[in-house]
């Protein structure tokens, strides 16, 4: 009798262990980036988020009215500033048209159809943010129906926000750059005078609210406030999207490798409307 009970207990333990393994495996599979959304999952996600979108309409309307009022004040102040800068505009215009012509000439010379910086835009509204605490994601109201694909860059007017990690028919999940995923290293360039220094954006520190750039081997001095942008290499991010500005530079103990701390350009809390970018090169 006692032996039988002991055997039963062993089976229970074995079953629990097996269940835990299956659950862990299942969650690991579910949280993989770029996983194809299951049909039922996509339908429920779309329906749930559509309901949320309808419920959000009044709050969005109030927020828009407040934002518009703020924007009006901001535009007036900017207008005053711009009036002073107006005289330089004609010089800049001629420089821009010259640069555009040069770029077109160089493209035709190299027979390029699209450069890394050319992109198409899709605007979207944020439906929900970071629910579940750990995931660092946003849900937007554009999906595969609007040609949104996994890996595409998501930006705000301030700079790079993250990338599309999964899509359903009418909604998509955006994984923020702050997620700190070790597998999501973004290739970046730092503007030092007329040249660029290249590196990899690795982690995000929640305490200091700074990104960390590693893998910089050049001995070039990196000034504070240097702009950090995407290179367009390695992933689907177009080139030249602003990530932030350099806040601090640290050398390792052997004074060989640099670690650069970057202050994000994007305010991650003020993300009601976003734009999904697609590199023309990928089309």
């Amino acid at each position: 009798m006692h032996k039988k009970k002991k055997l039963e207990f062993r089976y229970i333990i074995l079953a629990i262990l097996l269940l835990i393994t299956i659950v862990l495996g299942g969650v690991f599979f579910a949280l993989r980036d770029g996983r194809n959304t299951l049909i039922l999952e996509g339908v429920i996600k779309d329906v749930g988020n559509m309901i949320l979108k309808v419920l959000e309409t009044p709050t969005n309307w109030i927020r828009d009215v407040v934002d518009k009022e703020k924007e009006k004040n901001y535009i007036y102040r900017t207008y005053k500033d711009m009036q002073e800068q107006y005289e330089f505009l004609s010089t800049l215009e001629s420089e821009l048209s010259e640069a555009k012509k040069e770029l077109a000439d160089l493209e035709s010379l190299l027979e390029l159809n699209a450069t890394l910086s050319e992109k198409t835009y899709t605007n979207a509204t944020v439906l929900s943010r970071d629910i579940g605490y750990w995931y660092n994601t946003l849900t937007i109201d554009r999906g595969s129906h609007d040609s949104i694909e996994v890996g595409q860059a998501v930006v705000t007017s301030e700079g790079l926000l993250g990338y599309i990690s999964s899509t359903s028919m009418f909604t998509s999940t955006v994984k923020l750059l702050t997620s700190g995923d070790e597998n999501d290293k973004v290739s970046v360039k730092l503007e030092v005078g007329d040249s660029f220094v290249y590196g990899l954006l690795t982690t995000y520190d929640n305490d200091t609210n700074m990104f960390k750039i590693e893998g910089i081997s050049e001995n070039t001095g990196i000034p504070k406030d240097a702009k950090v942008t995407t290179t367009g290499l390695g992933n689907q991010f177009p080139s030249g999207i602003l990530i932030g500005t350099v806040s601090d530079v640290n050398l390792d103990h052997f004074e060989l490798a640099k670690t650069v701390y970057v202050k994000p350009a994007v305010n991650f809390n003020n993300t009601n409307y976003v734009t999904v970018l697609k590199r023309k090169l990928d089309e």
Partner: protein, 162 residues
């Protein structure tokens, strides 16, 4: 019960757009309502477990990519609550102590699972922040919900909802 859970589910989505990232407020409105509703549903525990598993899965499908993680976490927490409730029910404000305990357990289980599969890296600071930020707002929501449920129960409206 279904209406209450649905309201909490969508309220969580609505409020997520207002609350900033990494703030001292982290919402678990659906989980809070599930824990607080337990005393009214414990007679039909098996049915309640099925319902909360479905709501957990629904929560994952709508808001996260985790498919069924919250379905399992909700079920495990309520299963533990079922046994702990007997020991706690003599203590004053037992519902609130249990709510805090369940929130801590839910956050801890979730974090450990995500660390075990390599999705997150363990960081004591982040872990403690997640626990502290989860308690404050959800206990306030819990107090509000507790009295609403009590009123509904006395007016015999709640019985129709179960």
């Amino acid at each position: 019960m279904y209406i209450l859970f649905m309201i909490s589910l969508f309220l969580e989505g609505l409020l997520s757009n207002i609350i900033p990232f990494y703030s001292y407020i982290s919402m678990l409105l659906l989980f809070t309502s599930i824990v607080l509703f337990y005393p009214y549903a414990k007679r039909n525990f098996k049915k309640y477990m099925i319902v909360i598993f479905i709501y957990g899965v629904l929560y994952d499908l709508i808001y996260t990519q985790a498919l069924f993680l919250d379905g399992i976490l909700f079920s495990v927490c309520i299963f533990l609550l079922h046994y702990l409730y007997k020991f706690f029910k003599t203590i004053p404000f037992s519902d609130f102590w249990l709510l805090i305990l369940m929130i801590l357990l839910y956050r801890s289980f979730g974090y450990f699972v995500l660390c075990m599969i390599g999705y997150l890296q363990f960081d004591v600071g982040i872990y403690i922040h997640s626990l502290l930020s989860s308690i404050l707002f959800n206990v306030v929501y819990g107090i509000l919900l507790y009295y609403i449920l009590k009123v509904l129960y006395h007016k015999k409206i709640l019985k129709q909802l179960i």
